[in-house]
């Protein structure tokens, strides 16, 4: 797939159809693959990568890239296209300046998942699609790819691209029977005290590095309310550890109905806080209260939280559900 992608990218660069290519390249560590911008065939040959370690969602970069001179080619995995489509819906990306090539994905290997198996001193990781070989300071180790994948890929919601100009490889389908709400259900079943304890425990580790906000495709504001001294929320999330917790809750509210559940927030969190669970709670509630809705799936569909209909649930629904959830 990698060579096919490089070939197509070179062709499009050579014909002048696109001015640059957004893809993936090696990062500081071998397993730490990062997004990259390529403008020449040479750069593509020497640095462009596409393998089981290319986790990053490239859609958000297109907000800035689509405003540059000339067209930008971007490679999008199926789940990335949902974010891309949602950003189109919000008029954040100029569609006419982007050339989208959809690339297949059967799940990505995640270094945090590998570390969680107990391996330390990891030097590099490679995957042949079936088996992942991990080189550590203490010797080599292998595991099946399924064991090395992050939760978001195990519970993949879709292998289908919702927006593209061209596709490489085979197109997949929406995965209907994923279990992405299992953990949300577990948290819902907790008593309020247990739940509070759970989140205090998780969120107390937050160092406010803002990585979650910076990577989130839904967090694309020109200026975040937390950075805007006129917003009345300026510095609200920074004065003590409890308010820091509020930062995440407010962020979840701000992306409610727009979050496509791409899971980037949890991936980039250096403290391994399962932030995506906050967003999934909203997604689950929206599904239950307003009917099944997948943000980004359909750019023309009106979002339930932005639309008033006479069939909408009444506020009393909270009481009908016993005020528990």
């Amino acid at each position: 797939m990698q060579s096919e992608m490089i070939k197509r990218a070179k062709e499009l660069l050579a014909s002048g159809e696109v001015a640059r290519v957004v893809g993936w390249k090696a990062g500081e560590f071998d397993y730490d693959i990062t997004p990259g911008v390529f403008t020449t065939a040479e750069e593509l040959d020497s640095a462009f990568l596409y393998n089981d370690l290319c986790e990053a969602n490239l859609s958000k970069y297109m907000i800035a890239q689509s405003r540059k001179e000339g067209k930008t080619l971007v490679f999008l995995k199926p789940c990335d296209t949902y974010s891309f489509s949602q950003l189109l819906k919000e008029h954040r990306i100029l569609r006419e300046n982007v050339y989208v090539i959809g690339v297949p994905c059967d799940g990505k290997v995640d270094v945090d998942t590998v570390k969680a198996t107990g391996l330390t001193g990891i030097c590099s990781m490679t995957s042949d699609g079936e088996t992942v070989t991990v080189k550590t300071l203490y010797g080599d180790s292998t595991m099946s790819k399924a064991d090395a994948m992050s939760e978001r890929c195990i519970n993949c919601k879709s292998k289908k691209h919702v927006v593209y100009d061209e596709l490489l490889g085979e197109e997949g389908d929406v995965v209907a029977d994923n279990h992405r709400f299992d953990m949300v259900e577990k948290i819902e079943a907790m008593t309020p005290d247990e739940r509070f304890e759970f989140w205090r425990n998780e969120l107390s580790r937050c160092i406010r590095c803002n990585a979650c906000r910076n990577v989130c495709p839904a967090c694309s504001c020109e200026k975040c309310v937390f950075d805007n001294e006129q917003s009345g929320a300026f510095n609200k999330g920074a004065s003590d550890s409890f308010e820091e917790n509020m930062f995440h809750i407010i962020r979840a509210f701000h992306v409610a109905g727009r979050c496509t559940d791409c899971g980037e927030c949890s991936r980039v969190c250096p403290q391994n806080i399962p932030l995506h669970l906050l967003n999934r709670k909203f997604i689950k509630d929206i599904n239950e209260l307003y009917g099944e809705y997948q943000a980004g799936e359909n750019a023309d569909e009106r979002a339930p939280l932005n639309t008033f209909t006479t069939e909408d649930v009444e506020p009393s629904i909270v009481y009908e559900r016993g005020g528990k959830q």
Binding site: R67, E90, H91, R92, S220, C221, E222, K223, C224, V225, N228, Q230, S231, G232, A233, H254, V255, R258, R302, A303, L305, N306, T307, F308, T310
Partner: protein, 663 residues
């Protein structure tokens, strides 16, 4: 920093009995910016207002906090007072320590604590208040009346009389409403048609009035003074302009078995019909559910006989768009369905009828030409039982909890007229209470009992059982003599409760007008603004607001007209300056606000911006049409970046209030 004055009102004992007002005034003295704080017995009185005005001048106040009743009550009063003392009226904030504090708490200590907190929040907010100036918007000098019953007709006639254009939208083929089906009207017993039909004709002939019959309101946009309404003219398959109402089509139509709704289904009409002789407009309508030509293309009889070529089988629903300054709701009522009242055997026996069916049986234009005959066998009934409160004042859940108000009087009328016309008839009326407040009403009821010998029995009918000999066994209890009664009746008449027309709910949604739990429209104030909806520019006429009889309906209709005339007489309306405002630097151009705006006040455009790195960029940003914005604030909540803000209720003001409360 503002210089804030705090004024705590006792409201007599309304506030002072539960809130220690002096303690509130004292506590707020220490708040940042407060330079003066006092209490007074009635802040809204002239002396109270003077206290505010003088303090503004004496202490050079820039902001005022009044701790008093709801802003709905006296915000205007205090704003005007502040304005006359030389500060911007929007520098006044109200802390509601009456409705939201003293009235709902019993304990003085906690009520006082809460009043102080509410006061602190208002002080924190007024710190961030900015002077606002109200703009103006023009008034479209045309009114819309929805519903063409007696309420709508009276409102339209009065508005037209004042010289303004007015349109009536009526969903039936004719205006007139329920009153056309009524025979006589209490308490004077004049014939309903005789007093109604001249008004219907007046409507048709008045050049200021336009009637959209067989039409419905499909969509409402805009705001007071400037509504845009889409009216759906349903296809009647007859060209209204050509039809002369000669009626030949209704005689020749071969489909004869259509239940005639005008006579409550007690006789039949044709598939093409004119509801009744005095219909306005007198134009035929084809009932598409029954017409053979429309159903399967085989017939065309009416078209052949029509001498003016008015029949048009290809007619489609059309949408007309009109602009109005004011809208009057006059959607009226219907008797409730009696499916849940099996004990009265309404669905089992033809001789158990509703009061409205009884009206038709006694009306000269009715199915029996006005002779009271049993629907089952056409015989004269000798014993008639009237049952009151069928579904009214009903707490069992089957009916309505409210009193339908008109039934006591029309039942007395029915009983009296029956005894007068057929003195050999025994008439019983079962009641919970007889309610006859109204001019000449009680005298009317007493005449029925005393002069006409109607048997009024306090008690409810438990069961009506049809018997094999065709009579009806009525089981009832007489609560005064504490007896069980068994009456063999020939006819049972049920005074069914009335409910708002089903179309009212969807209409309320379109108009953003509020309703109560029974789907009656809510008035802006139950005593002081009874014909206005809380939504500006929407007025209420007739039973859509609550049960009422014809005299009351007509008075309310004229009252609504007076309010409309008052509005249309103005050339410009002062806008609410508390409107949304987009901060373009912060705006993402995501359209969330545009999608939630119920008034269509937000538009987007591409604008060139100079960026911090000295480049220019074109960005899509929102802007608010201040004349259209109603300040509901939906956009400020939807905006993810906080670029949308409401003047007078800014995000930072609300956060300041919350902070003050949580401190």
């Amino acid at each position: 920093m503002q210089k804030i004055g705090v004024f705590v009102c006792h409201c007599g004992t309304n506030i002072a009995a539960t809130v220690d007002v002096k303690a509130v005034a004292e506590a707020l003295k220490g708040e940042p910016g407060v330079v003066f704080s006092t209490d007074y017995q009635y802040m809204c009185s002239e002396a109270g207002q003077n206290l505010i005005k003088n303090s503004i001048k004496e202490y050079g106040l820039t902001g005022v906090v009044v701790c008093s009743c709801s802003p709905r009550m006296h915000e205007q009063t205090f704003r005007k007072a502040a304005q006359s003392a030389g500060i911007n009226p929007y520098m006044v904030e109200i802390a509601n320590i009456r409705e939201q504090c003293s009235w709902i708490h019993k304990d003085i200590w906690s009520a006082t604590e809460k009043a102080i907190i509410l006061g602190k929040a208002a002080v924190a907010k007024v710190q961030l208040n900015a002077p606002l100036t109200a703009g103006e918007s023009p008034v479209v000098k045309r009114a819309l009346v929805i519903g063409g019953g007696i309420a709508g007709i009276q409102t339209a006639l009065d508005i037209a009389e004042a010289g303004f254009e007015v349109d009536i939208v009526e969903k039936q083929p004719t205006i007139g409403g329920k009153m056309t089906q009524i025979d006589k009207t209490f308490p004077t017993l004049d014939c309903a048609a005789c007093i109604l039909t001249p008004k219907m004709v007046d409507c048709a002939q008045n050049e200021k009035i336009k009637i959209y019959s067989y039409s419905e309101v499909a969509d409402v946009k805009g705001f007071v003074g400037n509504f845009t309404v889409k009216i759906k003219k349903k296809a009647r398959y007859v060209d209204e302009d050509k039809c002369t109402g000669c009626g030949i089509c209704t005689e020749k139509c071969p489909v004869k078995n259509v239940p005639n709704e005008f006579n409550m289904g007690m006789d039949n009409r044709r598939a093409i019909y004119i509801p009744f002789a005095q219909a306005v407009p007198k134009v035929a309508t084809i009932d598409a559910n029954y017409c053979n030509m429309l159903k399967n293309g085989k017939c065309g009889v009416c078209s052949k006989f029509c001498t003016v070529g008015a029949i048009d089988y290809k007619q489609q629903d059309t949408i007309v768009e009109e602009k109005y300054g004011a809208i009057v709701v006059a959607t009226g009522f219907n008797p409730i369905k009696l499916d849940d009242f099996d004990e009265f055997a309404y669905s089992q026996s033809k001789d158990v009828i509703t009061s409205l069916e009884f009206e038709r049986l006694t009306n000269a234009a009715g199915p029996t030409s006005g002779t009271l005959l049993r629907p089952s066998d056409g015989k004269h009934p000798h014993t008639i039982v009237f049952v009151q409160c069928v579904g009214s004042r009903d707490t069992s859940g089957c009916g309505k909890t409210y009193c339908s108000k008109i039934c006591c009087m029309y039942t007395a009328k029915h009983a009296m007229l029956t005894r007068e016309k057929y003195p050999d008839t025994d008439v019983y009326v079962f009641y919970i209470d007889v309610r006859t407040p109204g001019k000449n009403f009680d005298e009317f009821y007493r005449r029925a009992v005393e002069e006409y010998g109607v048997h009024y029995i306090k008690g409810m009918v438990g069961k009506v059982v049809p018997r094999s000999d065709g009579t009806l066994m009525v089981q009832a209890s007489d609560l005064l003599s504490n007896e069980q009664l068994h009456i063999n009746a020939d006819l049972v008449v049920l005074a069914a409760a009335i409910e708002p027309d089903k179309s009212a709910r969807s209409l309320a949604t379109m108009l953003t007008a509020s309703m109560d739990t029974n789907d009656f429209f809510t008035e802006a104030h139950p005593k002081l603004r009874p014909v206005e909806s809380p939504t500006a520019g929407i007025f209420l006429s007739g039973v859509c607001q609550g049960p009422k009889d014809i005299p009351e309906t007509v008075s309310q209709a004229s009252a609504a007209a007076a309010k409309v005339i008052g509005l249309l007489a103005k050339d410009k309306l002062t806008c609410n300056p508390c409107v949304a405002q987009a901060n373009e630097l912060m705006c993402n151009g995501c359209s969330s606000c545009e999608k939630v705006c119920p008034y269509g006040a937000i538009t987007y455009s591409d604008k060139e911006f100079r960026m911090p790195d000295r480049t220019t960029a074109i960005r899509r940003v929102a802007s608010v049409n201040e004349a259209v914005c109603q300040g509901c604030g939906a956009c400020t909540v939807a905006c993810p970046s906080g670029a949308m803000d409401l003047k007078g209720f800014s995000n930072s003001q609300i956060m300041a209030e919350v902070d003050a409360i949580c401190k």
